[in-house]
Symmetry: C2
Subunit: 767 residues, 2 copies
């Protein structure tokens, strides 16, 4: 690869202008003739029998075009997890959480739909419910799904080496229990969809989604409709963070409303529904036991994990497993035991969230490691270096770590955050001062390209170059605001030689998108970028052929880059622009350029899918963060002074976008660490608005320093995915910083003022 | 090519069902948020100076969002013909025909827009006008465009051999003058467009068009906007017939209305505007002089042609030239002279019409040839066979006729129409009977794939096969109702082995369409089919590779056809479906299939473009029709009893579609022959409704027999284009049939009852 001209440069998002001026049509902006407004009647009970649903009054309301209950639609059970279909489209005999789907209406206006919903009368008979996945006795707890026979949805047990042996050899053994709470996605755009069922059985779905082709497959499987009858027009996404990987449960409801009304139906969740009925991230209770030498070398570590699944299955097992993979591989430890349970409750169900279990397990294990370091009197950076994974090593899980940048990430974070100076300075600060400061540093590993949990890492791309030299690349990449379209444009521009401003990225409509499972697991720029690059390189080959004929010389003598055709020997002299070249090829030979590219994970096990921890992650990435805080010990309020986030990005395609993504990650992860308090009491979500559920605002953000470590050896132009890595180790670093400032170690998120004040009181009482 | 399973079969149009149930969204059905309704104030004068345009009252009308005149927009002159840009977007100082564009408004509703138009006051000063392209003295006629200095827009002179020498050698010389009138396109969907100008300069145009990419280039050239700033979303087309090749003049008007209003603007022509301001086909006055031997062999033929261009340039020169090409090559005649003039008038401008001049020149030359045959006492079929072109011959124009099927077409038409029996029977009928019958037979040549007038015959195609085995082909083909999408689906299915029901054809949106100039000149299925076939064959190659791995055998042993994978040696045993195979390839290797294909006319002269008659047509096609009529000699009314249409289609891709297209052609051409009377008096169109301009209705249609002659040696699966050939020789055959029935030879179209009665009176007077 010669010098790069587009990749690696600061490029403003190609979508920024239309978004900023309000020209992008999000789902709520899209109106089609005949469109109706749908609303769903959600359960107000966590667990109850449905005795009767009376929809007569709703049906009679003028302007109401369809009212449906379970009696009006096919009885199916579905789930994104094919191993446990457990969700009805509308509840037939029982509701299983507050927010469950009971009935739905479609009407001429939103107001009429809302009014009609209020006219539906449901008689319930309460049933005993289970809310605490751990506190309940598994044998006697009320069943959430009777057909399952147990509230345990899944169990994962992985043991590598012998932790018993490791504990026996250890100088010290540490045990801690942590609780990483649920986090709400808080997308600015709430969930929604529009569905139009044609008379011939064709179904069109307008949907903001992370995975248009996968959601099409999910809908197909759920309803037994052939996939080719379904067209998903993926609309611009106003935030996703994992919430929009799995099919929105509104989709089949809108579909049957549309069938009944004979017209298109749009359902958009209210903000309240977004909190109470639209899925959150999983929480995680983590009990850790670790054996170390007195020098701080890890000999054995054990995790026992319990996750609240909520009422319906989703991605819980995959999250539980992924947390186990990252726990087991990080750090270098010869004996590892990971046991986890996923438990049904009558709480709101959960789904994927940025980081996929890693922020939760990492909060526990990194905070635990800092406690060990503190107890042993070892510096947090030092204990991590001592136990760091190494490139070229095979670890306990039998995974081979081909590139490892944990040491560089640690050094770089320490340098940027002025770790040593700050740490020492705060150690010696006045422990009686009202405002006290602390700094924490923690690290993480993550995947740089999804996992091999659910099939192949694959993608395709189609490219056409118009006769005016404009290149369109059709890519399955889903733009979630993360800048993926811009990255694809850069990779395509770099690969083809067409200048960035002449590249158009087309990524909507399952009828034209080449195959890709979707945007999750930090995979997209990697796999879709690979495919786009393959197509772009073929386009360049054809451009070079044309240029050689145009300039009457050999292909090998020529190069095309950034819109310029030139001789390799005479870089500075532009012989033609790519626009002129495209026009020449078209007019002289009547050819236009239409090419394609594909990518597949050729080194995957047969079938591309595995449960084996040794091959679960195709590309490893590492990162480190330092969080510096000031705590008001009178109010307990934590002010973050500075956040340093250093990540292994492989080659950064667009530093501007990558930095933005890392800054956003810090905002989301600091909110999770400090203020986002998801309160659910007896199955009832109390934090159902932005007044109660406090996300950080721009004014709350600290000074942020983002840096990347770039080992250029993987992916298109050497990239690794960074969609998630920025949220993983923030909470533990924040907890460590608060601990240094106050002496209070918070083991359950979020680190609220109340918990800090309570901790300070305990310390005072002990004195 | 082994046995074909999809190509050549009767296949219902893949678009039929959604069209029949009203689910297809034509432009008038498309509404987007903020959309305004535009109307254009058309001139009521044929030629006048604009003294003043007062738009104040219109601007003040509530609900009016923009009112524009020439003063509000850039001053440009444009035309599809780059050699003579002569049209303003809105007239600045002069109107040049009744219907010319004076001002425009955009308003909240159609009614307000209409009302606003009526409030605009224009003061005109009349100018002398020219309406008759031939009757006017060229030197003294009022100029239509002062900057041109003459009303002669173009002149074409082609001489091959020496007609003087041929006339000198001839036994007889015949001279006739014919007039082939204008024909209105009469699309069920009137012209219209919707334009949205974004703040960042991006322009989106919703447009029913025959040539999305070409229209984009036209708009770009007219306004000096880079093509990549323009996205054309080509909407389903409700009839085109040549009317929608060139950019609708409403497009730049809607564009500036949108710019001024800051909102999307839709303009849809009324039916009256469709007749008076939306362009018609060209008329043609043709003076013929032919020298023959007494045996009927053609020795020399000469045509002098005058065409009324109307007020603005369009495709006139190309039509004039194409008529010359077909005149010169048909039949085999050593000495040919073709001179033609295209004359500006203050009549409504003209544009392309199905057949592109051939129906007009063919009416003249074929009627003339029948008169020669009658005078010499030679049967019309015989005189044609005597002068027929021959495969492998090089003709006077130096064109090499690689395939020629004129003899087969003549024999087949004679056989099906029972030519000999009917002709003799009607010769001997009672010449005094009130109802008298006649049969006429004539022939034609046409292009089977457009011309090399305007650049390369080229196309591209992109194919993706989803993991569920559904194939999407992205093709630049414009569906005009002719069934092109179905033909592409068949070619793609046949080539790839994917069954027809699993093929989706995507052909909208210039941002994704591979290059192709558009749908005209009977070219589409040929060029776009070639490109789709190339992509489909590559897809099949990749499917076969996957199948060989799936079935653990050699690629060469396997075949895929119609959705089945099987061993060549064991045709009947299905080893897998293509759906299973696609799923296997995706799940086993993580690959999806994304491929591309292109087509270019490699045998074209350099640059693909020519004015030379010898290479003008890339693929020749031939045809023949017999028309049998009964004339009521008291009313002059002609009833067509039977129409036989035989055409060389190469290989017919879809007989059902091809027959439908030929039946439609007969309807249009019989209407042109008999009832469609475009009346324009002093520049004022009198036939401005379907009451006055009579197209044939279903009940008017005769028994029709359609047959194809299929020499399988060209194009994808050997096809030739048949979009136009069915309309070419109908009028002359009808004229001949009426002549046999009545003795009246009508030389100016249409053959109305009044003309027949007038002819009958003349004959009676001569007796």
């Amino acid at each position: 690869m010669s010098e790069l001209l587009v990749v690696g440069k600061y490029v403003p998002s190609i979508d920024a202008l239309p978004k900023v001026v309000g020209k992008v049509k999000y789902l709520p902006d899209i109106k089609i003739p005949g469109m109706l407004y749908g609303r769903v009647l959600r359960s107000q009970h966590a667990h109850a029998l449905i005795k009767k649903v009376d929809v007569e009054a709703a049906r009679k309301l003028p302007g109401v075009r369809a009212v449906i209950t379970a009696a009006d639609i096919p009885k199916v059970l579905y789930s994104v997890d094919p191993s446990c279909p457990d969700k009805e489209i509308l509840c037939s005999s029982q509701v299983k959480f507050e927010g469950d789907d009971v009935a739905a209406v479609a009407a001429d206006t939103e107001e009429i739909a809302e009014q009609a919903i209020k006219l539906i009368r449901v008689s319930y008979a309460h049933r005993p419910a289970v809310f605490d996945p751990e506190g309940s006795c598994v044998e006697t707890a009320p069943l959430v799904h009777e057909q399952k026979g147990s509230i345990i949805l899944a169990h994962e047990e992985k043991d590598f080496g012998s932790v018993e042996k490791g504990f026996a050899e250890a100088d010290f053994i540490f045990e801690d229990t942590f609780y990483a709470a649920r986090q709400a996605h808080c997308c600015l755009e709430t969930k929604g969809c529009m569905v139009d069922c044609a008379d011939d059985g064709a179904i069109t779905v307008w949907l903001p989604t992370q995975a248009p082709l996968n959601v099409r497959a999910q809908l197909s499987r759920a309803l037994g409709i052939a996939r080719d009858k379904i067209q998903i027009k993926n609309t611009p996404v106003g935030g996703a963070f994992g919430q929009k990987v799995v099919m929105d449960t509104n989709v089949p409801i809108a579909l049957f409303l549309s069938k009944h009304a004979g017209r298109p139906v749009k359902i958009i969740n209210s903000r309240e529904e977004e909190f109470t009925a639209s899925r959150t991230g999983y929480d995680m209770k983590v009990c850790l036991k670790t054996g170390v030498t007195k020098e701080g070398k890890l000999l054995a570590k054990q995790a026992r994990v319990i996750m609240d699944n909520g009422a319906y299955s989703d991605q819980g097992l995959a999250v539980l497993r992924f947390a186990g993979v990252v726990f087991s591989m990080f750090y270098d430890c010869p004996n590892v035991s990971y046991h986890g349970s996923l438990v049904y409750t009558n709480n709101e169900p959960c789904t994927a969230f940025r980081g996929f279990g890693n922020p939760q397990i990492s909060f526990a294990s990194e905070t635990h490691l800092n406690r060990i370091a503190a107890e042993l009197g070892i510096d947090p950076v030092e204990i991590r270096l001592k136990n760091a994974n190494k490139s070229g090593h095979t670890i306990a899980t039998n995974a081979y770590i081909n590139t490892c940048t944990i040491e560089e990430c640690l050094w770089e974070t320490a340098r940027i955050s002025e770790w040593q100076e700050k740490r020492e300075m705060y150690e010696s600060q006045d422990k009686k001062a009202r405002f006290r400061r602390g700094i924490g540093i923690t690290a993480m590993t993550h995947t740089g390209c999804s996992t091999r949990a659910s099939g192949f890492l694959a993608s395709g791309a189609l490219i056409k170059i118009s006769d005016d030299g404009i290149l369109s690349v059709i890519t399955p990449l889903a733009e979630l605001g993360q800048g993926g379209r811009t990255a694809i444009a850069q990779i395509t521009a770099e690969g083809s030689g067409i200048p960035l401003e002449d590249v158009r990225v087309i990524n909507e409509d399952t009828d034209i998108l080449p195959y890709s499972p979707g945007a999750f697991g930090s995979r997209q720029t990697f796999v879709d970028g690979h495919a786009a690059l393959a197509a772009a390189l073929e386009a360049k080959r054809q451009l070079l052929d044309g240029a050689a004929r145009m300039l009457d010389c050999q292909t090998e003598e020529l190069e095309i880059a950034n819109g310029r055709v030139f001789k390799k020997a005479k870089y500075e002299e532009t012989l033609a622009s790519t626009r002129e070249l495209a026009q020449y090829i078209n007019q002289k030979f009547g050819r236009s350029i239409s090419v394609s590219g594909t990518y597949a994970d050729e080194s995957a096990p047969e079938g591309g899918r595995t449960k084996d921890f040794s091959t679960y992650i195709p590309v490893y990435t590492f990162g480190c963060q330092a969080i510096e805080v000031e705590v008001d010990t009178e109010t307990g309020k934590v002010q973050v002074l500075k956040a340093t986030s250093v990540n292994d990005s492989g080659r950064t395609i667009n530093p501007l976008g990558a930095e933005g993504q890392m800054e956003g990650a810090l905002g989301q992860a600091l909110g999770y660490s400090l203020t986002e308090d998801y309160v659910i009491e007896n199955g009832s979500v109390k934090s159902d608005s932005f007044t109660d559920y406090k996300v950080l605002r721009a004014e709350d953000m600290p000074e942020m320093v983002i840096a990347f470590v770039e080992p250029h050896d993987l992916g298109p132009y050497g990239l690794k995915g960074i969609g998630e890595s920025g949220v993983v180790c923030t909470s533990s670093a924040a907890a460590e910083a608060v601990f240094q400032a106050t002496g209070v170690l918070i083991k359950d998120l979020p680190i609220t003022p109340e918990k800090i004040l309570s901790g300070l009181r305990s310390i005072a009482n002990q004195r």
